[in-house]
């Protein structure tokens, strides 16, 4: 195989940057913008990008070579906003000419491998946010404690299941089923001393489609009709699978215990 020519390397770099951004939860228009800027910096005749939430297509054209296209399929999206920010900064520096192409490539690689918070920290904070959310929705100290425990387990469960590359909605369904079951168990133990509503809402909050929803709106404003609709659908599907999970567990609990 002959070595990659200059424009092919550039294209690879730009698509890699875009792919990493898209995977980490950036908006579509930001990904398109970044790829276009990175490639326009080397003055190709035309640069066209087409990005959807699950894939990237880029074509560059110039007189010195024939057309060149790259397609990247994007799977396993996670939310890593630190990467979005760092790549944004990287592309800005590169376009302004502050760093060379080699520096930019090595920086992109280090961004990809960059470690942020350990899974233990993330897990602990999921628990803490669940607990404080239950307080926000008028919970008492018992609710606080129960939400913390459920949140810890749900956080680790979610992380564990996501590694198995099952589709997102099903993972959320299982998690919310677990929330429902544990709330019912807690209710059998504690009765009316706990507030079921605040616990369920507190525990569901980390799973709610906040990112998908915000990105849907931001994409729709950026005139990205396709991505706006698909992200909005994603948000709706997440909400429905959460409601279904908790609903099934609660109705089962009602059927056994007759608490209503």
């Amino acid at each position: 195989m002959e070595p990659l020519s200059c424009h092919e390397q550039l294209l690879n770099f730009a698509v890699k940057a875009g792919e990493l951004m898209l995977k980490s939860g950036a908006e579509i228009y930001r990904v398109e913008d970044t790829i276009t800027r990175l490639l326009k910096a080397s003055h190709f005749e035309s640069v066209d990008t087409f990005v959807i939430p699950t894939g990237i297509m880029v074509t560059i054209e110039d007189t010195s070579f024939s057309m060149c296209t790259k397609i990247a399929r994007v799977k396993n999206r996670v939310t890593r906003l630190d990467r979005v920010e760092l790549i944004n900064q990287l592309s800005r520096d590169y376009v302004l000419g502050l760093i060379s192409f080699e520096e930019a490539s090595s920086r992109l690689q280090s961004i990809e491998q960059a470690k942020t918070y350990s899974s233990l920290t993330v897990n602990l904070w999921i628990g803490i946010s669940c607990a404080f959310f239950s307080i926000m929705f008028k919970g008492n100290s018992i609710d606080f404690f129960i939400s913390f425990c459920i949140g810890l387990v749900v956080g680790s469960m979610h992380a564990r299941l996501m590694q198995k590359e099952i589709v997102n909605y099903f993972v959320l369904f299982i998690c919310s089923l677990f929330i429902g079951v544990s709330v019912i168990c807690a209710h059998f133990l504690l009765g009316n001393r706990m507030n079921m509503e605040s616990i369920v809402i507190g525990c569901i909050m980390p799973l709610l489609p906040g990112v998908a929803f915000t990105n849907a709106v931001r994409d729709a404003i950026g005139d990205e009709l396709l991505s706006g609709i698909s992200r909005a659908t994603e948000a709706l599907l997440i909400a429905v699978s959460l409601a279904a999970g908790v609903g099934i567990a609660l109705s089962f609990g009602f059927w056994i215990g007759g608490i209503l």
């Binding site: 803490i128 669940c130 959310f133």
Partner: protein
């Protein structure tokens, strides 16, 4: 009452920080994200206190959150999503979703539809606030010279 208000604000602050960590936002932004979340929640609570409907309180709160996020994004040279996602999280209508589901379980269908509509209204109002704040400045933008 004032006790509950302060407790609720502190909870919003801490849980927004928790979320920012879950979304892997960089350490230097964490405190600010927490403040944005708490500010939005404060507006919501005050709205509730003066008997505004939840829809209007959420609208005002998301207007504030979006405006702060845009301001911070410009001054700190950060993508606006970093602050926006963190700040919007406490306002996401989890309560409406839960109550819709609960009313469906108890076969109280008129209540279920009421809460379902409320949930959609809240979501729509948050979207509307983001759109307004993002696009309004563009009206006064100088025309692009081609």
């Amino acid at each position: 009452m004032i006790n509950h208000f302060i407790l609720s604000l502190i909870s919003a602050f801490i849980s927004t920080i928790g979320f920012s960590i879950v979304f892997h936002i960089q350490k230097k932004h964490l405190l600010i994200c927490g403040i944005v979340g708490a500010a939005g929640w404060a507006v919501y609570l005050i709205g509730e206190e003066v008997h505004l409907s939840p829809v209007i309180s959420t609208f005002l709160a998301s207007l504030l959150v979006t405006q702060i996020s845009y301001f911070l994004a410009r001054t700190r040279k950060t993508p606006v999503t970093v602050f926006l996602i963190a700040g919007i999280i406490p306002l996401v209508p989890g309560l409406g979703l839960y109550r819709t589901m609960y009313s469906l379980l108890t076969s109280d269908y008129s209540k279920a539809i009421e809460y379902a509509i409320l949930t959609f209204e809240l979501a729509g109002v948050i979207a509307g606030a983001i759109v307004i704040i993002s696009l309004l400045p563009l009206i006064w933008r100088p025309k692009k010279s081609r």
